[in-house]
Amino acid sequence: MLRFFLRRFAVAVLVALTVLTLAFLLTRVSGDLAISIAGPNATQADVDAIREAYGLNRPLVVQYFDWLGRAVQGDFGQSYFFRDRVANLIAARMPVTVTLGLVGLAIALVVSLPLGILAAVREGTWVDRLVGLVAMIGQAMPSFWLGLVLMIVFGLQLGWVPISGVETWDGYILPGIVLAFSAIPSLTRLTRSGMIEALASDYIRTARAKGLTRLSILVKHGFRNAAIPVVSIAAVQLGFMLGGSIVIETVFALHGVGFLAWESISKNDFPVVQAVVLVLALIYIALTLLADLLNAVLDPRLRTA
């Protein structure tokens, strides 16, 4: 178990380092950063000055290790546009994004677990097909468009919830629903297939032969085993949701890290973009690590291995 964890942790660190390197390369190989920062009206002298000021005239390897050394200490440098430390900016915006992600995940789980179980129990019937259709609709829905449509209907025409911002808690409802839509299809399908597999297994037949009640068979013996992959996918989905928050935060003008990234991209503020990519990647890596651990705790075959 400890060995399993150590191995997974080592892989996670390696992945994180690779992402750090990629994030660095991303900004350095896709064009001359100094020209991008200086903007279209800058003179050669301006560009040179920027190069000097940001250390962009040093050899690439030196820049890399300098940047890497700072990044692992949580120092992502200064924002060109906000004139603030990048770490501060991200820290200030993170709560909104994380709250949004958790709201989205909660909604997604509340919807998809019952739907998936229902579809599995009624496998092959019209209920199952209906759930499949719902999942497919969710998958085909462009999230930014859904956001706009919900805004028009519930924000403007019905006036139930604010159309943008999260000054009050109900500002999270619409973006949370839209974000949940992206996770509902895969969570529902996974719950369904996990349940079907569990319900078709020999140990369910044993449980029935033991005369256990339907509820006990479904929940204790069926869902307990189907839940194992769902837990890890839920964690992974949360990672994807945070990564995809840029679209939803832009639509609803929520000032989270996604919105920060979008602002920075349009302002050519690369230290911020780089740092957001990194932080989101690290969160994702941490979440998958957590998922593996949860898996190991839930599955005795891994726990006692």
């Binding site: 060995r3 399993f4 150590l6 191995r7 080592a10």
Partner: protein, 316 residues
């Protein structure tokens, strides 16, 4: 007895089982110093319980696994290092599961033709002729040759697998549990077919099975494997009439013949299960052996060979 068609010398295979990032990999000896030879036209049966290494032995001989040590020779030629196509002309397999052993996307005649086409230098007409001949040999019609595996029954699929093994006219056929997945009535058909082909084509079989009754029926010589080693080997009649190794005796005792009134025998083996990853010191069978003496737990017995065959036991 004629010259050996196949000879196995000191074959050994060690698997390294990764245990984690920081722990050293553990070594599992799946096949340990196995030697035997089979005369042309006869059948060596290999029996043993699951995990005894008999399937690993088959894969080593077929070249699907690299041996850690030892050689396999067919007609005196070493198979190791031989061109794979040349090797294919000498030795061919028949596997256990007739559902997994045929490519579901190809027609039967293409499956049977595969070894010939893979040789690369056989003309199309020759391929067609030999496929037809092989299908005919195993009792399948031309029409069945145009079907897909999913359209055939388990027994018919096993006939296809046999036809595929025969199409290159090999010297040796390695049969790895060829009837275990089949029903009794179909098993009898396949066993009869294999026996008939051996007689007609002068084939030599290595016949691996956990079913002693089947092995006794088809094999002229039997090797008993336990945790990677051959613990007893002798002529079939002798082995079944007078087993010398206590493990062979236990195996034979556990065979339930269809004779009413005899009840279920007590095979006298304890609860301990053999674990290939954790081979006991001394004689590897001693924790389960009903007649073990003190020496057995400390000193590994040496194989003793005589006219009656080979046995590896302090008490034999």
């Amino acid at each position: 007895m004629s010259a050996p068609a196949i000879e196995v010398r000191g074959l050994r295979r060690v698997f390294r089982v990764r245990q984690g990032l920081f722990a050293p990999p553990r070594e599992v000896v799946a096949v340990d110093d196995v030697s035997f030879s089979v005369p042309a036209g006869s059948v060596l049966g290999v029996v043993g319980e699951s995990g005894c290494g008999k399937s690993t032995l088959a894969r080593l001989i077929l070249g699907l696994l690299e041996p850690s040590a030892g050689d396999v020779l067919v007609d005196g030629q070493r198979l190791g290092g031989m061109d794979r196509r040349a090797r294919a002309r000498l030795i061919q397999p028949v596997f256990q599961d007739p559902f997994a052993s045929l490519n579901p996307k190809r027609r039967i005649r293409d499956i049977v033709a595969m070894p010939l086409v893979a040789q690369g230098d056989v003309s199309r007409a020759e391929v067609e002729r030999r496929v037809a001949e092989a299908l005919d040999r195993v009792g399948l019609s031309r029409e069945q040759g145009t079907r897909f595996p999913a359209q055939l029954s388990g027994g018919q699929r096993q006939r296809v697998a046999i036809a595929r093994a025969l199409v290159l006219r090999p010297r040796i056929v390695v049969c790895d549990e060829p009837t275990s997945a089949l029903d009794v009535s179909v098993q009898a058909q396949i066993l009869n077919l294999l026996a008939e082909l051996r007689r007609d084509l002068g084939l030599t079989y290595l016949f691996i099975s956990h079913n002693l009754a089947v092995v006794e029926h088809i094999a002229s010589e039997v090797a008993v494997m336990y945790l990677g080693r051959i613990v007893e080997r002798s002529e079939s009649e002798r082995l079944f009439a007078a087993p010398r190794h206590p493990y062979t005796r236990a195996l034979l005792a556990s065979v339930l013949t269809p004779e009413p009134g005899l009840g279920v025998p007590d095979v006298g083996l304890g609860d301990t299960m053999p674990d290939p990853a954790n081979i006991p010191p001394g004689c590897r069978f001693h924790p389960r052996c009903p007649v073990a003496i003190t020496k057995c737990s400390t000193e590994a017995p040496r194989p003793t060979a005589d006219a009656a065959g080979l046995v590896e036991c302090h008490l034999a």
